[in-house]
């Protein structure tokens, strides 16, 4: 039976801010959302449906922020895709259309795997111990992506055109498949997608941009699918908290995406890799001894 107030408003604010930051930083929002309540000793059970439904509201807020932040890119992309459908092909100089179909191809593996395996994977790996372990794995993946990074020449001044010129369709599928790793709590969607982008030759800035563009439909669609549950019985007692958390997540996500797009103009994934290894390692030890 669900208690009268399974999540307090204070907890909602903390979880919303945490979600907004960690969803876009390459450090796994799901992993942190699973670990932090246990660290604080909160009586929130990560496998309970109300908690997953609560998180979905914050995901939707993050997806809306991402869409608004990149709205000009999305308008260009939608127009380009429309042109290519009308012409039954992508014109050689239509980079907006190509970027749009690159995003579709990159969304397929994460979308299909997410729709079919998400429930089973969360059931298996949604414990704080497991999330701590996979947070360390995420740190190693980020280090690995930096080590395997291919440095390709910059081909255009426009960000979207540069990505469209540099990434092929098989490479986009590869980046999307890497993103699917984020179904495991502790593995970061942004980190996996950025790592894939670095390996196929994108700069940090372009890899981050591609990761955020790829994340928008996945996060948004996953959230929209669960919104009816928030409106139904599983949302009873948490709707107000979910709304507050969503507002906090939106503010944090906006600040995060602005910060990260500037940060990755000059810097790398290494600080995030160190954080994941250190925090994941410390939490693993803490949960093992308590």
């Amino acid at each position: 039976m669900i208690a009268a107030a399974p999540i307090t408003y204070f907890q909602a604010i903390v979880l919303g801010l945490l979600q907004g930051v960690t969803e876009l930083f390459p450090i796994s929002s799901l992993g942190h959302s699973v670990i932090f309540p246990s660290l604080f000793g909160w009586d929130i059970h990560q496998n309970d449906k109300y908690f997953l439904t609560f998180l979905v509201a914050t995901h939707l807020a993050t997806a809306i922020v991402l869409f608004v932040f990149f709205r000009r890119d999305w308008i260009r992309i939608f127009r380009g895709m429309g042109r290519s459908l009308r012409d039954r092909g992508i014109a050689p100089d239509d980079y907006d259309a190509k970027l749009g179909w690159l995003l579709v191809v990159g969304t397929i593996p994460a979308g299909v795997l997410g729709l079919t395996l998400e429930h089973a994977l969360r059931g298996l790996f949604a414990s704080p111990q497991s999330a701590s372990f996979f947070l360390m794995v995420n740190g190693l993946l980020l280090f690995g992506a930096e080590a395997l990074r291919r440095r390709a020449p910059q081909t255009d001044d426009d960000d979207d055109r540069r990505i469209a010129k540099q990434v092929s369709f098989p490479e986009s599928f590869f980046v999307g498949a890497a993103q699917a790793l984020a179904l495991i709590p502790g593995i970061s969607r942004t980190g996996a997608a950025m790592g894939g982008g670095l390996v196929v030759g994108l700069s940090h800035k372009d890899a981050a941009r591609l990761a955020f563009l790829l994340a928008t439909p996945i996060i948004g669609a996953a959230a929209l699918l669960k919104i009816p549950e928030l409106a139904g019985s599983e949302g009873t007692g948490i709707r107000g908290q979910a709304l507050v958390a969503s507002l906090c997540a939106a503010l944090a996500a906006y600040a995060s995406v602005r910060f990260l797009m500037r940060y990755f103009e000059t810097r790398t994934l290494i600080p995030f890799a160190i954080w994941c290894l250190a925090f994941g390692g410390a939490c693993s030890i803490y949960f093992a001894v308590t």
């Binding site: 459908l85 092909g89 992508i90 050689p92 397929i108 079919t116 540099q166 030759g201 699918l225």
Partner: protein
């Protein structure tokens, strides 16, 4: 990706339509009524695999779009990684 072979186009259309039909089956039939060879079959279950249906539907649409592009005039771009 621009193979333009009629067999490839035919296969994309056939599998695309088949996946959309499969999506409708997932939405209409409970897991217990699905044929045993279809992923998600669970004997006696009344659960509908809505997400499996969405995945099959989107894959089907993707294949039909691929076939649509293959029937273009031929000036379509072959992605060229640098």
């Amino acid at each position: 990706m621009n193979t333009r072979h009629p067999v490839v186009i035919a296969l994309a259309v056939i599998f695309g339509v088949a996946l959309i039909v499969l999506a409708v089956v997932y939405w209409a039939e409970p897991a217990g009524s699905l044929p045993a060879l279809i992923p998600g079959h669970e004997a006696g279950s009344g659960h509908h695999h809505v997400k499996h249906g969405i995945a099959a539907f989107l894959l089907g649409v993707a294949l039909l779009i691929f076939a649509w592009f293959q029937t273009g005039k031929g000036k379509a771009d072959q992605p060229t990684p640098t």
